[in-house]
């Protein structure tokens, strides 16, 4: 008797939680907010790299993960992939696929950062004197930040309801 009540109560709670998750997941305002934040983040991230591809190329070199012949091509193309996907998310042009691209890029960034964190590879070429005097990077917070952004990207990707403010979804 007692056991079955507890079981039923637990079940009830589980159902409520499920409902809550479903409301959260299907809420089109949350989807819109996630999509806009994601889009603006990526457009902003692409801007500096597009203006100074040579500096971005050197950062890629610093990761010591990519073959030398590909470094410049990555530095040329990736910022535009960020820009195009970011704009697509903002205006709602094929947002699901744009979110997929963004998520894949985030996974690559997270993997690259993690590999270098684990193997203790730190690249300091002393070549960023143009901006601030000292350039320090904290990899841990960067990975954490990328996971947060990835959560937004996954939300936009797995969202199944009608999307607000989309020109072509």
């Amino acid at each position: 008797m007692f056991l079955s009540t507890a079981f039923r109560d637990g079940n009830q709670k589980a159902i409520q939680l499920n409902k809550l998750i479903k409301t959260f997941h299907d809420n089109h305002w949350i989807e819109l907010a996630a999509r806009l934040i994601l889009g603006v983040t990526f457009v902003y991230a692409s801007y500096k790299k597009i203006l100074a591809p040579a500096i971005f190329a050197k950062i890629i070199y610093g990761y010591d993960l990519f073959p030398a012949v590909l470094i410049n091509l990555i530095a040329i193309i990736v910022p535009f992939l960020e820009l195009v996907a970011g704009l697509a998310l903002i205006i709602g042009f094929y947002p699901r696929s744009a979110a997929l691209i963004v998520n894949l890029m985030l996974l690559v960034f997270i993997t690259a950062l993690s590999i270098n964190l684990i193997r203790g590879h730190e690249f300091n070429c002393g070549c960023f004197s143009k901006g601030t005097d000292t350039q320090e990077t904290f990899v841990g917070p960067l990975i954490f930040r990328d996971f947060l952004i990835l959560a937004l990207g996954l939300h936009v990707f797995f969202y199944r309801n009608v999307r607000k403010l989309c020109i072509l979804s």
């Binding site: 040579a54 696929s97 002393g126 070549c127 000292t134």
Partner: protein, 161 residues
């Protein structure tokens, strides 16, 4: 299938736009850079970069000869912090990031005829090249770029302070 089509559209737009902008932008880079430190200073080969290869000193012993002749002023292009942590003995600091602020005082002290050797943090660093370019623009004529920089100098056990 729908996703593949959409992804192709995004990839296509990005690739075309990126190559077009890179082609026309003055900050554009070559399709393949120079990323082998055995071959010299690494660089993405920016297109508006002036070729300073003929000013480079790729041999540490030669840099030491110039140093010993005492005719050359060694100029440190790195940040002030790096300079304070250690630099070639007798070198003066002129961080390329603060060039505009510091160049006047520098010119008052050293005439344009002064023979100069710029250096920074070695072959992964282009600051010494950028500084050389700026000094050339300000009328300095005899400029050399010591590409192995402070790390190379230090590893040879040459005088530092």
């Amino acid at each position: 299938m729908k996703t593949i089509k959409e992804l192709s559209i995004f990839a296509g737009i990005s690739i075309i736009a990126s190559f077009a902008v890179n082609y026309f932008s003055p900050a554009g880079i070559a399709l393949v850079g120079q990323w082998d430190i055995a071959k010299g200073v690494i660089t993405a080969n920016e297109k508006n970069e002036i070729d300073l290869n003929n000013l480079e000193i790729g041999d540490i012993a030669l840099a030491k000869k110039l140093y010993d002749s005492k005719k050359f002023l060694f100029v440190d292009a790195r940040s002030r912090d790096n300079y304070n942590e250690g630099h070639i003995k007798g070198a003066v600091s002129l961080p390329v990031g603060q060039f505009d602020k510091k160049i006047e005082a520098f010119m008052e002290q050293y005439p344009a005829e002064k023979a100069i050797v710029t250096y920074c943090a070695g072959r992964t660093c282009e600051d010494s090249h950028n500084l050389a370019q700026l000094l050339l623009a300000f009328g300095y004529t005899e400029i050399n770029v010591f590409i192995d920089g402070f790390p190379g100098w230090e590893s040879e056990g040459y005088p530092i302070e």
